[in-house]
Amino acid sequence: MEVRQSTPAGSAPGSADARLVQALRDGDESTFTELVERLTPTMLAVAVGYVPSRTVAEEVVQETWLAVLTGLDRFEGRSSLRTWVFGILLNVARSRGVRERRSVPFSSAFPEDETGPTVDPGRFRPQGDEWPGHWATPPRQWALPEPALLSREVRTRLRAALDVLPPRQRTVVHLRDAQGLDADEVCALLGIEPGNQRVLLHRGRAKLRQVLEDYMDEARA
């Protein structure tokens, strides 16, 4: 069973957030900078799915941070601070999308509900084989270094692959895997069903895995 690291073990949920909010209220610039650096890339990636251009997405993110700051007194700690920030982002992005005549209800607007396998069928043995459906070209074990030692190239490639995922997959993978939100939080934020969330996550992750596999295979060659 996978356990994600959404709350540091041992700390009461929300107490770290309460400290962050207090530091922001006190005008602590380094707290703000840290939060901005941690959340903004995902915020941009999510906003891009709702508005017509990168420029507008950047405006949405700026507007969101201002709304966060001016709305700090309304943060009640019922969700995590991150989830609260992404909730504001989605409200701003949706209303901006409407204004830009690009109203996009997350659950239905993108014609990206691909079906079909996430792994190239050519990698499996065909019907008629002694073991149909079993690996013909199995993946080989990786020996990836610790995250801090990962090469710039591998990260650059993975980021590029993440940026070109279909918007709904990109949004879900960003929120779940880059930010570490849990499934319930992501479903609530985006207004999607758990099963749909898992499909989007699976398809996105499978594409990113393939990019890493290609990279590892080239590195071996």
């Binding site: 890339p41 941070w65 001016t70 880059a178 992750r205």
Partner: protein, 87 residues
Amino acid sequence: MTRGLEIDCDELVEVVTDYLEGTLDADTRRRFAEHLELCDGCDAYVEQMRETVRVTGTLAEDDLRPDMRDKLLAAFRGWKAGTTPSP
């Protein structure tokens, strides 16, 4: 001899995320686990999906453009100047 092979590899790779999320029903979960014990290819695949999640987790802090950070910081300073309560 079907033990562990009640799921084909091409089926297993499509339910990896359900497995990692803990949402497989008990029977499928058992067949999945039995298959993994016998199949190096699928074992590698599942591990690679975990690695992919781990590496994606290192991307959050990358690549915030300096001009974006400066704009946000300027906004923060403006907000602070406008709202700092007197002690």
